[in-house]
Symmetry: C2
Subunit: 307 residues, 2 copies
């Protein structure tokens, strides 16, 4: 049984108040797979790149036991490219350029060896592409997590509503939750969104942490207070990767275990923002991950006995 990750594998060019990169490797599926690789042993990647994508970046993923059989390499085509500039507060950014390139006609192919998929992570992509992956799996996975963004709410809301009926967890940020629900209060937004299909909703609030809702319970995980956020790109995907990777490895989808998974996801996000791109989450030791999780425990745990 395995974890299947679909999403973009891409080039990013990033400007922050701390510096600037040329084209570096990014993409939702890259961050998700790398973050998940600290927990899940068997990760199958489905994505597409052009022939300009460096083979050593693919090698870097394989070294972290990510199976790239489902990564299509399109000869004569170019890899998806995004560039953006973060504002001084690091909470908002401007997109400078988007080149869809290979993503334009992306038709995800599921290798036969991926059909044992038990956990499915649908990274941010057109909802219709996310739906096609669900349809191409002969058995419905045990647990399906979907990430999306405001862009798809603007241009493909019907498709998004269709695929929302098929998933267990939706992960979006606070502004997207408000947009999707039409409610300002996140509690009310969560109730509305849960009625659209998913059993669980995770609202990511960046430096303000994350909320996990089901129809009866709510759990809050903080973000780690950091001296500097160096590059927020991929933080949400690293969160999702740590979350689904931990679940896939433990194979326990109780609410208590989802809470743990949110903490592991938050830990991976906190690493991700410390350096440009995927640099920080390519080579973590198990001890570094444990130390970071312990920081989260120390950050929020308290002992109150009500009589």
């Amino acid at each position: 049984m395995s974890l299947l990750v679909i999403g973009t594998v891409a080039f990013d060019a990033i400007e922050t108040p701390f510096g600037k990169t040329d084209k570096i490797v990014g993409g939702a599926a890259t961050f998700i797979s790398l973050a998940a690789s600290y927990f899940a042993k068997k990760i199958n990647l489905v994505s597409v790149v052009g022939d300009d994508f460096p083979s050593d970046a693919i090698g870097m993923m394989q070294k972290r036991h990510i199976n790239t059989d489902g990564l299509q390499v399109k000869q004569g085509e170019k890899t998806f490219f995004w560039s953006g500039r973060y504002h001084n507060d690091m909470n908002s950014r401007d997109t400078l350029e988007t080149q869809l390139n290979v993503l334009e006609g992306f038709d995800p192919i599921i290798p036969e060896s991926y059909q044992d998929c038990e956990f499915l992570m649908l990274g941010n992509l057109a909802p219709s592409v996310q739906m096609s992956v669900i349809e191409r799996l002969r058995n419905r996975p045990k647990f399906v997590v979907l990430d999306t963004m405001n862009f798809w709410m603007d241009i493909a809301l019907n498709d998004l509503h269709q695929v929302l009926k098929k998933v267990d967890v939706l992960t979006i940020n606070d502004e997207e939750a408000r947009q999707l629900s039409g409610e300002y209060s996140l509690v009310k937004a969560a109730q509305k969104i849960l009625s659209m299909g998913p059993r669980y909703l995770i609202i990511k609030k960046g430096e303000h942490g994350a909320l996990l809702f089901n129809d009866k319970q709510v759990f809050f995980a903080p973000a780690l207070p950091l001296e500097e956020v160096f590059d927020p790109t991929g933080a949400g995907d690293s969160f999702a990767g740590g979350f689904i990777g931990y679940l896939a490895e433990s194979r326990d989808i109780s609410f208590d275990n989802l809470k743990r998974a949110v903490i592991f996801g938050s830990a991976m996000a906190s690493f991700s923002v410390e350096k440009f791109g995927t640099e920080r989450i390519q080579n973590l030791s198990a001890e570094e991950v444990d130390d970071r999780v312990q920081q989260f425990i120390d950050l929020v745990q308290f002992d109150i006995s009500l009589v």
Copy 2:
């Protein structure tokens, strides 16, 4: 031994997207004392009002065992008045009117019976007035908490720096922490502010919770996700009241107990915003308070065993 609370006792007129009040009873010391009264048995109030202040509001405080011997009632003068309008997101507000009235010449008088002060809460007032209270106490209290705001950083920064050297805890919001320190990162801001004098810093982030720092540790308490925030006025003061009230009652100023106090403070703030003014925190049952604290426990507690 007792808790001494100094701050404004005032009239507020509030507009929110949910409604509008005429003059109602408010003020930092009112919210602090009421919130503290659910924990501390002996609360001594120092403040000033005009002869327009209703005696039944004083009676309401006395019924919650708040000693008002130090509440000066100035004949022929008017009570401090503030009116404000909250924006739709409830996170920002405009001040419509401020009438200092009796506050202008406020000279706090400490009744002799208040000299056994062990815990001192300096609610938001001119730093020079806060300092005079410290100076008029013959013995330095065991624990001093100071609340302030950006207004005093703008017009009385030197006085604020002087009094900061005399206190154990400073409570301010995130924007004020940035203003006082000149640092955007709250972690860096905390380090700078702790070097100004206080041993602990609490940064209040409204709907995003609160952070407690000392020079080595950090603790995060969430705000309770609420369906509606009805009136944020007094939330920070209710937080401070729950915090110092819990500490004064338990007489334990270890970091572990400060963490508990932050949770009790957060619980009181979550009640305060549910109705206009002090209405919600005038008549809570012990069971309601315990239930609310249990909601905070359920909201953040998780169980991870690192091997």
